[in-house]
């Protein structure tokens, strides 16, 4: 804490201005949630159109060209702009609280990460109005993604993802530093809650995986905007390099997504079974191992590329290995419930529903790891079914579990249980109805990414059922939104609505801006549960009550991101004046940030007590 930090009270900011300048991790969590939620609705709407087009053979709901834009945007939006930010929302809302910290390590950078993601996503989506969305698939394989074969849309993909990806990268670094440095006294690594562990490993994966796509996108940008020939075979380029770069990022990305879901399930299942997590240390070990192996297996997305028998076999066997730590997790969850007193509020419904669904996704994953069989599955609807089982049935279920579980903590309101149950069942049944038949469609010869299928190929029934299922998921999603609206007028949440086990439940819902009036002393895994069992009301403080130093809000993260947003258009339209203006804004803000001393401010000791939020 710098000695010359000002003792002036917090600059009071209100309304929109407060949200645009906030560096508070709890508010940034809400920003991530809102932005991710909006993109989720956009991606979901795209999915609805896709399935409507495929409801009947040879139908013409959307044309061939528009269909390819829809699948590209659906995939890109869901992965980069919907589930990633919702994961970041939960990480922001929960991780600092779980480790007993007052904020993340770099609050300013945290805000910057959010705004970069937001403006990157916005740039990508403006393509719909500026000559068409990207249409080369979310993987944007070259050469289809080169100028000769696809439209301007792919430029939006390149620049939008580049900007959003920067945001994710610095977000990941921020959480690594936060978890390493900001844990409360006594919170050793092996006492960290599972969700924090998962966030930690995920952040590590982000750190190593995102640079690969950054490099890939730079090369693609040169090919598309400046006449480079990295991927152009006519000029001596190589089309396969993009595939490698994409999947060296893309495969760890799968684990970046699913590990936090594993973390959420571990927390929720344990809380609602009233038992500590079974095999905590093997869970930690499995998480780390999955993260490590996640980098060794990217070429299993490329079995049909023609890498040869040796490469395919090795990558296939390495992939199978991941089943072992994943299996450990599933059995540990089952044994956590074994002998417990299981209750089923909506949060736990999602978590319990996750287990069979994810198991199916994991099993088809092992099947896909057998290269000779994969030659049949690859790029067919079997793969579509597999990854939706993992990402929707697994990750999205996990996120819903997390949202129902932590909603009271984030917003101070309880979500409605009755609506929640309807939300779960409609979504869950709709999900299986949509994706289960797709396994068979793939085996029956339906390639993925086809805008239509011809009559007389016995593909009609499966596709029809699949589309019907989407209505269930749509209703489920709408019910969730209704629940959010209803909850605003609903029950106030108490500090610890679920009889929780971890530190976030020791402070009010929602927490005050400084989180913990006094940093808690952690005495073991499930820190709060230990105190409860010892008959204590709350945590033992690790420090005397005193002034709390807070970072000041700043508009610079927003401006820096706007600068890159503007520069992005400049690059695309080869208007270098705009590029220079945009970059000047960004670098100007960076300069201002570097030279201006920002000491933050203090919250006074008596102010803390006044609010009556002593831990």
């Amino acid at each position: 804490m710098s000695a010359h930090a000002s003792h002036a009270p917090a600059p009071k900011r209100s309304g929109l201005w407060d949200w645009l300048t906030t560096v508070d991790h709890k508010k940034i969590a809400i920003l991530y949630l809102i932005a991710g939620g909006i993109f989720f609705l956009a991606g979901g709407f795209e999915a609805l159109l896709i399935r409507l087009q495929l409801m009947y053979p040879e139908s013409q709901v959307v044309g061939a060209g528009l269909f390819n834009e829809l699948i590209t945007m659906h995939g890109t939006t869901m992965i980069f702009l919907a589930v990633m930010p919702v994961i970041f929302a939960l990480m922001n809302a929960v991780v600092p609280l779980q480790i007993g910290a007052r904020d993340v390590a770099f609050p300013f950078v945290n805000a910057l990460g959010f705004w970069l993601f937001f403006f990157g996503g916005l740039l990508l989506n403006t393509s719909w109005f500026l000559g068409g969305a990207p249409d080369a698939g979310w993987t944007s394989y070259t050469t289809l993604a080169l100028n000769q074969y696809s439209g301007r849309g792919v430029d939006f993909y390149v620049l939008g993802l580049q900007i959003a990806g920067l945001g994710t990268l610095i977000g990941g670094i921020n959480f690594l530093v936060t978890i390493i440095n900001m844990r409360a006294p006594g919170m050793t690594f092996m006492r960290m809650p599972m969700f924090t562990w998962a966030s930690f490993v995920t952040s590590g994966l982000i750190l190593f995986a995102f640079p690969a796509i950054t490099v890939g996108l730079v090369l693609l940008m040169f090919d598309r905007l400046f006449g480079g020939n990295f991927f152009n075979p006519d000029a001596g380029g190589n089309v396969i390099i993009w595939e490698h770069l994409f999947w060296i990022f893309g495969h760890p990305e799968v684990y970046i997504l699913i590990l936090p879901a594993f973390g959420i399930i571990s927390e929720v299942v344990s809380t609602f079974s009233k038992k500590r997590l079974f095999g905590y240390s093997s869970m930690v070990f499995a998480t780390a191992l999955i993260g490590f192996l996640g980098f060794m297996v990217w070429a299993h997305h490329m079995f049909t590329t023609g890498l040869g028998a040796i490469a395919n076999t090795l990558f296939g066997l390495a992939t199978m290995l991941i089943a072992v730590p994943t299996g450990i997790k599933i059995f540990n969850w089952l044994l956590t419930m074994w002998g417990g007193q299981i209750t089923f509020p909506t949060a736990n419904l999602w978590a319990v529903g996750f287990i069979p669904t994810f198991t199916i996704g994991g099993m088809t994953g092992v099947m896909l790891a057998v290269p000779p069989a994969d030659y049949q599955y690859h790029d067919s609807y079997f793969v579509v079914a597999h990854f939706h089982y993992v990402i929707v049935g697994g990750l999205v279920s996990g996120l819903f579990a997390g949202l129902y579980y932590w909603w009271p903590k984030m917003f101070g309101k309880m979500l409605n249980e009755k609506l929640g149950k309807w939300n779960f069942w409609t979504f869950f049944i709709g999900f299986h109805l949509t994706f289960f038949p797709q396994h068979f469609l793939g085996l029956m010869g339906m390639p993925r990414r086809v805008y239509t299928f011809l009559k007389g190929q016995d593909l009609d029934v499966g596709n029809f059922i699949s589309t019907i299922g989407v209505f269930g998921m749509t209703i489920g999603t709408i019910l969730f939104l209704v629940n959010v609206v209803v909850s605003a007028k609903g029950k106030r949440a108490v500090a610890d609505p679920w009889d929780g086990r971890t530190l976030e439940w020791t402070i009010p819902s929602p927490p005050p801006e400084y989180n913990f009036a006094q940093t808690p002393l952690v005495r073991g895994l499930d820190a709060f549960w230990i105190e409860k069992m010892a008959g204590n009301k709350g945590m033992t403080p690790a420090e005397p009550l005193g002034d709390i130093h807070m970072p000041s809000p700043s508009f610079l993260p927003f401006l820096m991101s706007v600068g890159l947003f503007i520069a992005g258009y400049g690059f695309m339209y080869h208007n270098y004046v705009v590029v220079v203006i945009g970059l000047l804004v960004t670098f100007g803000c960076m300069f201002a940030r570097s030279v201006k001393d920002d000491p933050g401010y203090h919250i006074h000791e008596d102010e803390i007590e006044e609010k009556g939020v002593k831990a």
Binding site: G279, Y280, T304, T313, G327, M363, P372, M444
Partner: protein, 339 residues
């Protein structure tokens, strides 16, 4: 909470659905109905791996159901459950068993994997060069001096060694009933072998997103006995070593005149013509028009009138032909046969 009951009811429904669906699948198209050794080996691996996986799933579901029934909180239940840290024996058990199961899968994975990547020289296998184009397929038999498109003709019971590449973007060559797919990469050559053990027609697909009409990049495989195949090759060779035959009927002659003027630059017929579009030497013998439309004079006319309407973004322009020209062309094209 009746959740788990509902869940099981629903799961059995899916089981039923699965049965219904597996029964289906078209013989000509489905990977579940293998018609050659490659597809059969792959099908065996699918069965092995899914059997193991379903076994694991059943174990998981048994524990899952038991736990949900037995350990849900009962009304009035008091006290706090025992906080169990873990159990080394169990944890080792569920690390080791999956590992052993994986080894069971790994062995055939390795052997089949290498068997499928075998390369056969021309003494042992028919060599076929495949070039993928947006959105059609070109097939050449380099050792036999024959070229065709859209319909791949193969002899039954004989290994075929494919050499695959692409003229534009990446595509993937897939005949599910005969075997898995492989990408066609521009600027590179991939190899794969297949064999058909049944005569008849099989459906082929492009499996890699390749542009607007990726969904319509279908082709057909016509498998015939060796004698018929040899006869077909002789027929093709006979025609392709000469200039196009002069059409005899007046309608066809008029069509040929238009064809020579407007179409020959892209399409080859017999020993003459360009390579920007499919070789049409045996067009009248083909299963489909452009890989997708049923082969009728009406559909040929429909294609010629507006190819973009039938296949968005394909490389054949709309040539603004009037009805009389189309009629003449259709008549001429019905003479392009080697049978």
């Amino acid at each position: 909470m009746k959740g788990w009951q509902q869940f099981w009811r629903q799961l059995s429904l899916f089981g039923l659905l699965a049965l219904v669906l597996t029964g289906c699948g078209k013989d000509e198209l489905s990977a579940l109905k293998p018609s050659g050794p490659v597809a059969a080996m792959q099908y065996d691996l699918m069965k092995l791996s899914s059997a193991i996986m379903i076994g694991v799933f059943i174990v998981v579901m048994l524990i899952f159901t038991y736990v949900l029934i037995r350990y849900r909180k009962r009304p009035g239940q008091q006290g706090i459950p025992k906080q169990v840290e873990g159990n080394h024996a169990l944890e080792i058990l569920w690390t080791v068993i999956p590992f052993l199961l994986l080894i069971v899968m790994a062995v055939p994975t390795v052997t089949t994997g290498f068997a499928l990547h075998e390369e056969y020289p021309k003494e042992e296998a028919l060599q076929v060069k495949v070039t993928a184009h947006q959105f059609w397929w070109e097939f050449e038999y380099p050792d036999l001096g024959v070229a065709t498109a859209q319909d791949l003709v193969l002899p039954v019971g004989k290994k075929v060694q494919f050499h695959l590449t692409s003229a534009d973007v990446m595509h993937a060559f897939w005949i599910p009933a005969l075997g898995g797919k492989i990408d066609t990469n521009p600027g590179q050559e991939n190899k794969m072998w297949l064999q058909a053990d049944k005569t008849g027609i099989f459906y082929g697909k492009c499996a890699e997103l390749c542009g607007a009409s990726h969904a319509l990049m279908d082709f057909k495989v016509e498998v015939m006995d060796q004698a018929a195949f040899d006869k077909w090759i002789d027929g093709m060779k006979g025609v392709q070593s000469k200039d196009p035959a002069v059409a005899t009927s007046p309608g066809a002659a008029q069509g040929q005149e238009i064809f020579n003027k407007s179409c020959l630059g892209c399409h080859a017929v017999a020993g003459k013509g360009g390579k920007l579009g499919p070789n049409l030497t045996n067009f009248a013998d083909r299963e489909r028009v452009a890989g997708i439309l049923e082969h009728t004079p009406e559909n040929v006319a429909k294609w010629l009138k507006d190819p973009q309407k039938e296949k968005t973004g394909n490389n054949m322009p709309n040539l603004n032909l009037d009805d009389a020209q189309v009629k003449a062309l259709v008549e001429y094209m019905s003479t392009l046969s080697v049978k």
